[in-house]
């Protein structure tokens, strides 16, 4: 009989674990997520960096130090296998004062200790040759070529699609309400959709990992939400070619200036610790955004007028007690594995975390993992009309005219792209039609107009494909419906 594994949380950690565990013949893997789609928690709003691994002190944070560089190396392979949008453009940690070089030397040394290749300190001339738009106060930098950027939600989606293709079963809109433990062993998870039997439970619940752990009687850590806010600019605003960090201070890694993978200048984050009960506080604030703006300006003085901002957003990072990742099989509850406190560099570390979990299952739980004879490591990226050369687009349109019809005018996303996105939502078990699910798969609604032209059209397509009324289509899950009924609903005295 197969060993049943329940992974709680379909963020970047849970999805990576699901993919890696889908390789094994003797596991039956269930991926459980309370949101309507995957990657909507911590993975959704962050700086989207694949870090270099020089930042984490191996004495203080051994897990982070070990898994970050390993994760970086694995991502170089995973982005190819899974066709995840990415860029390997390197990072510059910029010095503006002579003392900053002491700190950069420290980072360089730590990088060497962690096994980071190709790092070096560069002088002012080379720095300005690389990034002419930097502050004139810059005097040198640490150059880390292995740093890159990926689309974090597209990455989660790719991982889950690949996992599902390899037999993983998803349970979306499924909230864990309890962990059943008998005789010191896990038996399964209780959810709003019934009981899911499991021999192994992997807690990858992000901000809620402490609450899930407590359901199993494990109470030695807490997760604090730490908010980070960001600005995103229109795609004709010039940004840097590389990821720019200020020299870190003891308190902060600083505000990053970067051109994200879709070509938008992005600045952020600040760091604001919130009380533990505010794990759903994703509101941007005037003060926070001011801090981001001022911080970014120190590195990139030519910020455009605020009217060129196309979006501001905030994300929460799960800060664990102690600061290091908590990745281990808990001794008092056999079969319960914590993957908790996956704060920065969690996105980078995710593939390495997944292999770490596989090792824990073998080493600590004594389950011999048997590889499948046929496991498919590949997953094809969704069609993006805007990436196709005209002759390729034409071939596709001949087969399916929907690919010739543009829905999102800012980013040239076609109706065909969107229908393909909806098919893929259904493939991984998305039950509630949401504009955000389409957005994260196609980049529609993310351009200059932020969806004011195309959102109503996407709503129509979702309504038709899901067989619901258009006003029942949501922006981001139940409670965020696009409308309250048909246009005469209030006059008839009805409302949805």
């Amino acid at each position: 009989m197969k060993t049943r594994v329940a992974i709680i949380g379909a963020g970047i950690s849970g999805a990576s674990i699901a993919r890696v565990l889908s390789k094994y013949e003797n596991l039956e893997v269930h991926l459980i997520e309370k949101a309507p789609d995957v990657g909507w928690g911590v993975s959704k709003a962050n700086t989207a960096l694949i870090h270099g691994g020089y930042d984490d002190d191996p004495e203080k944070y051994p897990m982070r130090a070990k898994l970050c560089i390993r994760g970086n190396r694995l991502w170089h392979q995973w982005v190819k296998e899974l066709q995840i949008p990415h860029v390997w453009n390197g990072a510059l940690i910029v010095a503006t004062k002579e003392e900053d070089f002491d700190e950069l030397e420290k980072l360089l040394e730590r990088g060497h200790k962690n096994g980071v290749p190709e790092m070096r300190i560069i002088d002012r001339d080379e720095l300005f040759h690389l990034e002419p738009g930097l502050t004139r106060e810059a005097i040198g930098a640490l150059w880390v070529p292995i740093v890159g950027q990926i689309g974090p939600i597209p990455a989660v989606i790719a991982l889950v699609e690949n996992a599902v293709a390899n037999g993983v079963k998803t349970h979306l809109e499924t909230e864990v309400r309890g962990i059943k433990v008998e005789n010191g062993e896990v038996r399964g998870v209780e959810t709003n959709n019934g009981f899911i039997e499991a021999d192994i439970v992997i807690n990858a619940a992000g901000l809620y990992a402490d609450e899930v752990a407590r359901m199993a009687g494990i109470d030695y850590f807490e997760i604090h939400p730490r908010k980070g806010e960001y600005y995103l600019f229109d795609d004709d605003v010039p940004g840097p070619g590389r990821v720019l960090f200020p020299t870190p201070t003891p308190i902060s890694k600083g505000i990053v200036v970067t051109t994200e993978i879709s070509g938008h200048l992005m600045i952020g984050p600040n760091a604001q610790d919130l009380p533990p009960e505010e794990k759903d506080n994703l509101a941007t604030t005037e003060e926070g955004l001011r801090e981001v703006w001022e911080g970014a300006k120190k590195l990139w003085p030519n910020l455009p007028p605020k009217s060129r901002v196309i979006r501001t957003f905030a994300g929460l990072r799960p800060e664990p007690t102690g600061g290091d990742f908590i990745i281990k099989a808990e001794e008092e509850v056999w079969g319960f594995i914590n993957v908790a406190g996956i704060r920065s560099p969690g996105l980078t570390s995710a593939p390495a975390i997944a292999y770490e979990v596989a090792e824990i299952i073998q080493r600590d739980l004594g389950i011999n993992l048997v590889e499948k004879e046929k496991w498919n490591p590949y997953r094809k990226e969704i069609t993006h009309f805007f990436m196709l050369p005209p002759e390729k687009a034409n071939e596709l349109i001949k087969k399916n005219p929907a690919y010739g019809k543009i829905v999102c005018r800012c980013n040239h996303v076609s109706e065909g792209d969107i229908l393909e996105a909806i098919e893929r939502m259904k493939f991984i078990g998305v039950k509630t039609p949401s504009v955000d699910s389409v957005k994260f798969r196609t980049k529609s609604t993310t351009g200059t107009c932020q969806g004011s032209f195309c959102r109503p059209k996407i709503v129509q397509l979702l309504a038709k494909e899901y067989g619901v009324e258009p006003w029942e289509v949501t922006l981001k899950g139940k409670g965020s419906e696009i409308g309250i009924g048909d246009v005469k609903a209030l006059l008839r005295g009805e409302e949805a």
Binding site: L282, A283, I397, P401, K405, G479, I482
Partner: protein, 420 residues
């Protein structure tokens, strides 16, 4: 010129980009003038934004009678079809290339495939887009229930969806006021219209809506924050001082819907890419009196030129652009012995066209920076004076200048609005 194998090629005298009132009027006129014209529009239907403007108030100048938006659009569309103008809907322009004055390429995609169109002239009439909540600095939760006015209008009047029931409207421009009425008519409660400036932003006839439907207007106020879980629950309003800086005075309004009507911006990104010079004041291209941009043979009309109040003027600009395209194609270019530069004087916020030849009569379109009463519009260089009882930023001034008047100027003309 790079060859594009497997891409169907078409050839026309003029391609009109955009099938709204400016584009349709341009295509009709071009056809009447004997040009071989192709009209492209990205929507499934012609008319641009008009089909969702179901209120009356259109066409008093152009058709000499009051029409609704869909009626105005269908009149133009009917004429277009009668004349046999070639048009394609669901056709989105991907790129414009300018090889030489009379050799341009428009690449578009459609359900029938990707096409490259060789053309001598282009009339760009792609309209405008709306400012959204992020651009005007609203912070807080990114939840459902926040719509631009145009999006709310599309949902209601194209797709028959009611967005919400308790509405706050940001901006007292025409679109905001018309949406206030639209929501009220469908039984929603419009709790407030919030206007940043100390005066309303719409045409007088639309400001009346507030009284008719008993909707509170907060002048010198702005919405700064939205809070809600899943959907908007409340919005924070702050009073601003005379310099538009936030005062400490603030309050919250409970609402499930926030409609942003904070102005329009000409959609000219594709023109910028080929080097068309843009006027930061209008947001549209710098043009001469034929509505030709800084790239010869590319003409612009309607809200891509500058934001208009009246569709009649938009159609008028479309016709002029078509006449100009004809002239351009016949003569191989638009030429003038001299170009008189139009300058903004006192209390003129924006003005177009920017260069006048003096070879023909022109309409100048301008807006003032602040409202004033009992004023004189003056052009000192040619001794022109015009008394106006009242001027408002919300109301575009359309001023006819005769060729002989323009000829009196040597290099420049300054248009100013001063106390009489």
């Amino acid at each position: 010129m790079e060859p594009m194998p497997q891409i169907s090629m078409l050839s026309y005298d003029v391609v009109v980009i955009g099938g709204g009132p400016a584009g349709m009027a341009a295509a009709v006129k071009a056809k009447e003038l004997g040009l071989n014209v192709l009209l492209l529009d990205e929507n499934d239907y012609l008319g641009g934004i008009l089909p969702q403007c179901i209120h009356p108030g259109f066409g008093l100048h152009y058709f000499k009678e009051e029409l609704t938006g869909p009626e105005f659009a269908s009149r133009l569309a009917k004429r277009l079809v009668e004349l046999g103008v070639e048009y394609r809907t669901a056709a989105r322009v991907l790129e414009i290339k300018n090889y030489s004055d009379l050799e341009k390429v428009v690449i578009f995609t459609s359900p029938a495939g990707v096409y490259q169109v060789w053309t001598k002239a282009i009339i760009y009439a792609a309209g405008a887009r709306e400012r959204h909540a992020f651009e005007i600095g609203i912070v807080g939760d990114r939840v459902a229930g926040i719509y631009t006015a145009g999006e709310a209008q599309t949902l209601m009047d194209i797709y028959g969806i009611l967005p919400g029931k308790e509405v706050v409207i940001v901006g007292s421009g025409d679109v905001g006021l018309i949406m206030a009425r639209r929501f009220a008519l469908e039984g929603a409660k419009v709790k407030a219209v919030i206007e940043l400036m100390p005066y309303p932003g719409g045409l007088a006839r639309n400001v009346m809506i507030l009284r008719d439907f008993n909707i509170p207007l907060y002048l010198s106020h702005k919405v700064v924050e939205v809070r809600g879980r899943g959907r908007v629950q409340r919005v924070k309003v702050v009073r601003v001082d005379e310099n538009l800086n936030e005062t400490g005075e603030e309050f919250w309004i409970e609402a499930d819907t926030l409609v942003i009507s904070a102005g329009l911006i000409p959609s000219v990104k594709k023109l910028k890419k080929i080097g068309v010079e843009i006027d930061p004041a209008t947001g549209g291209p710098v043009v001469n009196d034929r509505l030709e941009t800084s790239v010869p043979g590319i003409f612009v009309a309607g809200n891509s030129l500058l934001i208009n109040d009246l569709v009649d003027y938009v159609a008028e600009q479309g016709e002029l652009a078509a006449e100009s395209a004809k002239e351009f194609i016949e003569k191989g270019g638009i030429e003038s012995r001299k170009w008189v530069k139009v300058r903004k004087g006192q209390n003129v916020r924006l003005i177009a066209p920017h260069y006048l030849s003096g070879d023909r009569d022109v309409y100048l379109y301008l807006r003032v920076a602040r409202p004033m009463e009992n004023v004189e519009l003056r052009i000192p260089e040619i001794g022109k004076k015009l008394r106006l009882p009242v001027v408002k930023p919300a109301e575009m001034i359309r001023l006819k200048l005769r060729a002989e008047e323009i000829q009196k100027a040597s290099e420049k003309l300054t248009v100013e609005v001063v106390r009489a």
